[in-house]
Symmetry: C2
Subunit: 196 residues, 2 copies
DNA sequence: CGGCAGTTTGACCAACATCAAGTTGGGTGG
DNA sequence: CCACCCAACTTGATGTTGGTCAAACTGCCG
């Protein structure tokens, strides 16, 4: 409610989250926005979700009407946006299985696995089994993304550390000695064995 | 895995669900398909989700390649599909808040509220405060949709009945004496007061 | 009149939340 | 450069919600 949305855009650098909250403060993050992700909804003038920066961000934004014109004129833009929207829909549907059916431990393992895999893919170093990267979210954001409390997230991270599945350098950097060990904790049993 | 998808389509009549499962049997329904809903994903040859009929259904289906040609040729089809996909994305994001942050009672109340509202809208009789309709899903499907067990769904239905928020006729027909009473149980506190 | 799938109810238990201290570590001012 | 500060995080004790296991109930169909 309040002023209408005037822009859509795309994230150029940094990390942000898209979330929704109940009046009593309960919050659910529905997605983490990374560079190249689209923000906003052409065809609608009313924001429904909160976009929150999780770091310094750069956003490339368009007047919403201008973007809608581009959409009408450029023949490649529509299919591209449809493709991105469908990818997002698939990602969000996968996350629903996590929210509705996974245990706290599986949730935390899955989240770490996802971020690690994305980082590894971007850097192109697929040959190493071990890996380390920086979590772009606070524990509170992690909790709101997983449908857990901060304390439960923290406890499960400690448990995974004790089990040797991950190691921590400081509070944000995570080391993964063996990807398959981590994958085994996600509950997916996905036989995507492209690892040696 | 297995044979590639050869068709996309749209639901003409009946009710179906789209779901995903873990190997140990845990299942999450990610959406309920009603007449006019689209099924499938142009641009992809691999089914990722299970579509399960919840009643007799009629489906209008297309060869996936034929549909992709229509998409290229017809100028109104792309935007239409984009609009539908974005609507679905919004619906699914709203459901994530339910899965991650709502109590069992709020989940059950929200689901009943949604089905009732949709039915009421379709029938056009917005003037009555009370309403009755038939739940199109078994308790098991309800549980898989809400991320709960059958038993918990059953208990919460009984609790709402005892509280006078709903009444049951048989096991599938639900009577709602006062919509606002039901809405108050959803946890949304949404001030959409278009009721008298 | 069974038979059986779907549902309800009860007793008990485990997982996660809540409440309450502690601990860590990065940034700031002295 | 050090000491302090404060937000973010961890850990522990306890409570509550929803899951599990088990038994009865309903109603539809043969």
């Amino acid at each position: 409610m309040g002023e209408p949305m005037r822009h859509v855009g795309s994230l150029v650098s940094g990390v942000a989250s898209i979330s929704q909250a109940l009046e009593d403060g309960r919050r659910q993050i529905m997605g983490v926005l990374l560079p190249s992700d689209f923000i906003g909804r052409p065809g609608r003038r009313q924001a429904q979700y909160d976009i929150t920066a999780a770091s310094e961000v750069v956003i490339c934004r368009f007047e919403i009407t201008a973007f809608e014109n581009m959409l009408r004129v450029s023949p490649s833009l529509g299919p591209r946006l449809l493709e991105m929207t469908m990818d997002e829909l698939d990602a969000v549907r996968d996350w629903m299985l996590l929210l509705g059916r996974k245990s706290a431990r599986e949730k935390v393992a899955t989240l770490i696995y996802h971020f690690a895999a994305k980082n590894r893919l971007l850097s192109g170093e697929l040959d190493h089994q071990s890996w380390h990267f920086m979590l772009p979210l606070t524990r509170e954001a992690l909790a709101d993304y997983l449908g857990l409390t901060i304390e439960t997230v923290s406890r499960q991270m400690s448990a995974l550390k004790k089990a040797g599945v991950i190691a921590l350098q400081g509070q944000r950097v995570i080391v993964i000695p063996d990807f398959r060990l981590l994958q085994a904790e996600t509950g997916d049993e996905c036989n995507n064995d492209q690892l040696p």
